[in-house]
Subunit: 742 residues, 2 copies
């Protein structure tokens, strides 16, 4: 193949490299105001009064409040519970109350200092436990945003027939997406009444949909343009609906362009983070290690508003059993309302939380049975024909065993485990060493009928000048969308990769190919483009036999094909394969079209004095169907791994009274290159018949696998089974103390 | 009080005593045919062909099949899944296939012998376990008729904080209602096209509703009349819809009256029975005996069609925690489809199943903690202000502690336990003796918003001749409805009980006061009549100062009041009290308006040779709010207790390939007077502010309490903890063998 499987240069690489790529704050907008947000200082209560310091020059300020919203005051996502601006009720600290626009950025921030808000405070609910206990009723009658029950077989009977029952409780914390570029947008209204929002985002059409109820107007009078985006990781899936609405409100009220750009502190304090979760496992297992019954209970902290909690919970629940076949499974999951800032989308979307528990629990089971956890995994791992917890039969592309065996072999897992044991026997060592393993799966695309509802549309256009343009709303956010899509098109047409042009999406110009989330872009949008390319190819071929190999030839063909029109385009719409059946009400059937698989071996050492953990070696094998661009794929894997190592070892969001206490990089520690170990990555390609050239998803998978492997390695090194993240030195030393105390 | 609290003579007593009461088979209907039913001999499959023996004189027979049904072929209840006559698909043995009508009963039965049915058999699903395992898909995608999840607090956290976790699995069997009179009806069509169905039934308006889709016609052209009914116990709640439809179909096809009367064998083989169930408990408890977390899993065998399974399951789930307060509760219940004959309503309606498990499990918990089960109950029992598993606050009329203390004291529970221990020490005894205890609660009326949907209507009419008639569709089935309702009216009006007239209901004459089920008649219908009586009283008073004390006076008043009309009537409709709040979707809130409570102490002895159990003494105290007629109430309690002793010790429905093998009284053993011990009954009256004169419900409560007390006594006598009913000698001796084997 010429284009696919080749590590071609990033489409947007050069301009980023040369610093000419324009991020939203780089745009000069004449007459632009700068918008800032007044936020609640309390987590729960009501606004009694807002006082403006009379000594401040308010006349130069534009002030916008809920009452200024021309339409309805809610941020459109799943439910309509979250206001764009608080009216009376306050449900979390940092909740937006009013907006100030001023030509001078610094003055806008000063203005905030001259506003006093009087509150009537209420008792806040700051933990899942207090929410379940209904200390306060925050949402409907029971604080439950969403409840999911997955049942397979008969766990009660399974437990009764098991030789051992192993229980465990696992806790995973919140996490900040920490993209390089903070959330930021600009907005203005054109003379023809078109509302334009431009900025850093993952899902232009989500923003488009969200603006309609806030600022009622015909759809074509709303235009959303993505600018070069410095990372998203889910953190720009839903929040642009909020900040976009804020900028638009100020712009409409002032009649001028408005820029809203968060600094790091505000972005960390106010925007969504990963859902903290508590997962309980109760597993019935036969003496020989066969899993016989799994009872799993998941609780997630959804924060103050629903946002995306129901779907995050859904992915978490579906992946909670781990990549193992078990005849009897019951998964009961719920997402609770609290007075913490809303949790939201973050790479992995619930799966890293539940997979950490599932995988570390395998170590506990192995220890209980006194068998090797590798053997335990081999015995129970998904195979072709296995049936998942939702009753899905895995028909094809099941790379679970392959990734496990490849990782184990490549890392010399067994030998290294032995060597570490040797090492640890010597009392004069200054460190303990351990090797840990984990294996995970991750569904590609939206759950069940989700893709049907999205009905994504994408395609190609051929201009009369012979330019081949990708027509899709899928965003390049650093992960390589542009290059990957272009490669699929180039390969299908049999033309050079450089011929394919792709721009950052503009809802006025491209169809809605769905959000850039859920590891769906390559598999879903890529397939649409492949189909479009085939149609284009046929059209040209019908016209003149073959597809041209020269620019000149293409231009001639294009002019004929376009005949008079500026361009001719070929748009495809998603069609759900008949064999994918899903019962949303019962949570039964094909939760995803296909799954990707990853295994990882982590070797680490722990300083006996400081309890610092250093990853010495990291080996992973991942089955993503097909690597369209191997270097980009490895980049995804290494990046996701580094981010997950932060989740496992360093990143510790500290909330007090609903406010993040360490909302800056000086004390919210993410991994640097120095914290990132040498990584050995192997790609396993078990093609998926419905993915372009066999491709599945790779965006989230790499995040799922490191944390449990790290915890397993700590367990191996020290004998300390620590079921909670992050594995900070403090936490490990405390566990050590408790151990020796016993 | 003159009428209420007085044990007045049964209204219908004399005519039953003298044998002039007319049961359906006593009616002579000129030109009447006798109807019989051809039933499936296989539990699962399809009908290929039906062959009629040419040598048989078919010309004198009327034959009706599904194709003859003028309307839709389903028996109306909750779902529309059950056909009146099977078309092709057979889902249980004894399923009706066709009907034969013949003037001579014996010939009708002979005719059945001359019909051959060819089947294509399928693998039958005969256990809940096989249904859960989806051996065959019988209903929707997962065989689940209904699934219920009740969640309170956080059981996982509760378990973690508990000192002990006690697990147990309990199994309860099917049971036959064994009413004295079998199911039977007669049907005919009047010249004006009115369809009349007369017979033995609990709910005339259920039958009325069920006939409409089968035989489309205006409502007033359907008339259902209850005849004197020899017992129901739930067994005549839904089945008359079926047999009524059969008789009507033959009647319409033949143009003649048709009688269908089952003999005992057919009634036992074909009609509904109690739901068998499997209940699992996992209970977290503090060292001091405080219940801290309950996880309860309920599975019921619903049989081949939905019938009333969803509501039976609902009552079972709501009562599954027992009358105890516990901060963290999770109840997960489901009713499964199998190829057994449909299970249906039976006194207690799911509660006896789950309460047996809940109460016997208290014995297990006490044994595990090494404390006395009486102390354990005292510590956790419901009190005023307690919150149930559904989150209902028990505002008033909570007699749990009173009934427990009264029963314990009256039975000398503690002393007798000691004496038994003494007795058992002597090895030369020919028996073991033991004393067992249990305490239960039972909700009165329909669940949650059920009564709102029923919108029952009942009242009184005063004829110009001065007759006071009760206008209600509530049926006298031996439990004393007529007397009890008449007493409430008499007391309210302040007239002699004899003045109140009440007939068996006829849908052409009385309003729909709802079904005679769910311990609702006294509390719900009684209250309507009390309100109606007050209106009548006021009306008469306004007319002439006071309410007359003489027949003559009443006649005068009546004539004035009726002025010209034959009668004047006062009908009341049910209004839900505002404080009753119920969320059907979340199963949260006030499951019932109020609960009745019962405690029982059973003293028994077990023959060391034969393992036969003999109940020596039985003491019970029951809080039913107010006993309108103490003798009738004691009758209910004694009758229910005897029936429950059969459930606990004797009644053993044996299914083979979906067919009851012991469908006659020679080998389906129910208790006789000789099996019924001396019973000491004490009535505790904690009035309910919304019940007539404080009354709650008594119909089902007495059935809930005996079985667990018996099992507890067996445990006390022998040390054998047997979690399954019935406690046949075989089962006890087997348990003994296993015990000594260990």
């Amino acid at each position: 193949m010429l284009a696919v499987g080749v590590s071609s240069r990033r489409k947007e690489g050069p301009e980023k490299l040369c610093g000419v790529a324009k991020y939203i704050d780089d745009y000069h907008l004449p007459g632009c105001l700068f918008g800032v947000t007044l936020r609640s200082s309390i987590p729960h209560g009501t606004i009694k009064n807002i006082r403006f310091d009379p000594k401040f020059p308010w006349d130069d300020c534009v002030i916008a409040r809920a009452a200024d919203i021309p339409g309805q005051n809610y941020v459109d996502l799943i439910e309509h519970d979250q206001p764009l601006l608080a009216e009376e009720r306050i449900l979390h600290a940092m909740e937006p109350i009013l907006l100030i626009g001023h030509p001078v950025r610094a003055t806008a921030y000063q203005a905030l200092e001259h506003i006093e808000v009087d509150y009537q405070e209420s008792e806040p609910v700051l933990s899942m436990e207090d929410s379940i206990a209904l200390r306060q009723v925050l949402y409907r009658s029971d604080n439950v945003f969403k409840r999911i029950l997955i049942e397979k077989g008969d766990t009660g009977a399974g437990m009764a027939k098991s030789d051992f029952i192993v229980e465990g409780e696992y806790r995973v914390p919140s996490q900040e997406q920490a993209y390089i570029e903070n959330n930021g947008v600009a907005a203005w209204e054109e003379d023809d009444g078109t509302l334009v929002i431009m900025g850093s985002m993952q899902c232009p059409y989500y923003v488009h949909k969200a603006m309609k109820p806030l600022f009622p107007r015909r759809e074509e009078k709303i235009r959303i343009i993505q600018t070069t985006t410095g990372g998203g990781f889910g953190g720009k899936e839903e929040y642009p609906n909020m900040i976009g609405g804020h900028a638009a409100l100020l712009a409409i009220k002032s009649g001028r362009p408005v820029k809203m750009i968060y600094d790091r502190h505000e972005d960390m304090l106010a925007t969504t983070k990963r859902h903290p979760a508590r997962i309980r496992h109760r597993t019935g297992v036969r003496r020989d290690g066969t899993l016989f019954a799994q009872e799993i209970e998941i609780v997630m902290d959804g924060g103050a508003y629903v946002t995306l909690s129901p779907v995050v919970l859904s992915r978490g629940a579906i992946h909670a059993s781990g990549p193992y076949q078990c005849p009897n499974v019951r998964i009961l999951a719920k997402s609770m309302a609290t007075n913490n800032p809303p949790s939201g989308a973050f790479r992995g979307f619930g799966a890293p939380q539940t997979l950490f528990a599932a995988e570390l629990h395998m170590e506990k089971i192995a220890a209980t049975l006194g068998i090797d956890s590798l053997a335990l995994r081999r015995r129970n791992l998904f195979r072709q024909g296995s049936v998942t917890a939702t009753g899905q039969v895995l028909r094809e592309s099941v790379g679970a065993s392959e990734v496990l065996e490849r990782a184990v072999q490549r890392a010399k897992y067994v030998e290294r485990r032995k060597e570490c044991k040797q090492w640890n026997r010597r009392k004069d060592r200054t460190s303990w060493r351990g090797v840990g393993l984990s294996v995970v799966f991750h569904g590609a695309g939206f759950t069940g009928a989700g893709e049907v509802h999205l009905a994504s549309r994408a395609g190609l256009s051929l201009t009369r000048e012979g330019e081949i343009r990708v027509e899709a709303a899928s965003t390049e956010i650093g992960q390589g969308t542009s290059s990957m899509l272009a490669q699929i098109v180039a390969e299908t047409l049999g033309v050079p990769y450089q011929w394919i042009q792709i721009d950052t999406p503009d809802t006025a110009r491209v169809p809605n190919s769905g959000p850039t989330v859920a590891s769906r872009t390559c598999m879903v949008v890529g397939s649409l483009l492949q189909r479009a390319a085939l149609r284009l190819k046929t059209a040209v071929a019908e016209l003149q036999g073959t597809f041209p190999h020269t620019r000149a030839g293409l231009r001639t063909a294009a002019r004929k094909l376009a005949n008079g029109k500026p361009a001719v385009s070929f748009i495809e719409e998603y069609r759900q394969p008949d064999e994918i059946q899903w019962d949303e009400e019962k949570y039964k059937g094909d939760a995803y079209g296909v799954y990707s698989y990853a295994a990882m071996v982590v070797e680490l050492e722990i300083n006996k004095l400081t309890y610092e953990v250093r990853i010495r070696r990291l080996t992973t094998a991942q089955d993503i169907g097909k690597a369209i661009n191997p270097v980009l794929v490895e980049g995804q894997i290494m990046g996701g791994t580094a981010q997950a190592l932060g989740y496992a070892l360093l990143e510790n969001v500290i909330f007090q009274n609903g406010v993040m206490q360490n909302a800056q990089f000086t004390n919210y520690i993410i991994p640097t290159t120095l914290d990132t170990p040498p990584m050995s990555v192997e790609l396993v390609e078990k093609p998926y018949s419905r993915g372009p050239f066999g491709a599945k998803g790779v965006g989230e998978l790499p995040f799922d696998v490191p944390a449990p492997a790290v915890a397993a390695a700590v367990f191996h090194a020290t004998g300390l089974f620590i079921p909670e993240l992050p594995l900070l030195p403090e936490r490990i030393s405390r566990a050590k103390r408790d151990q020796t105390a016993r």
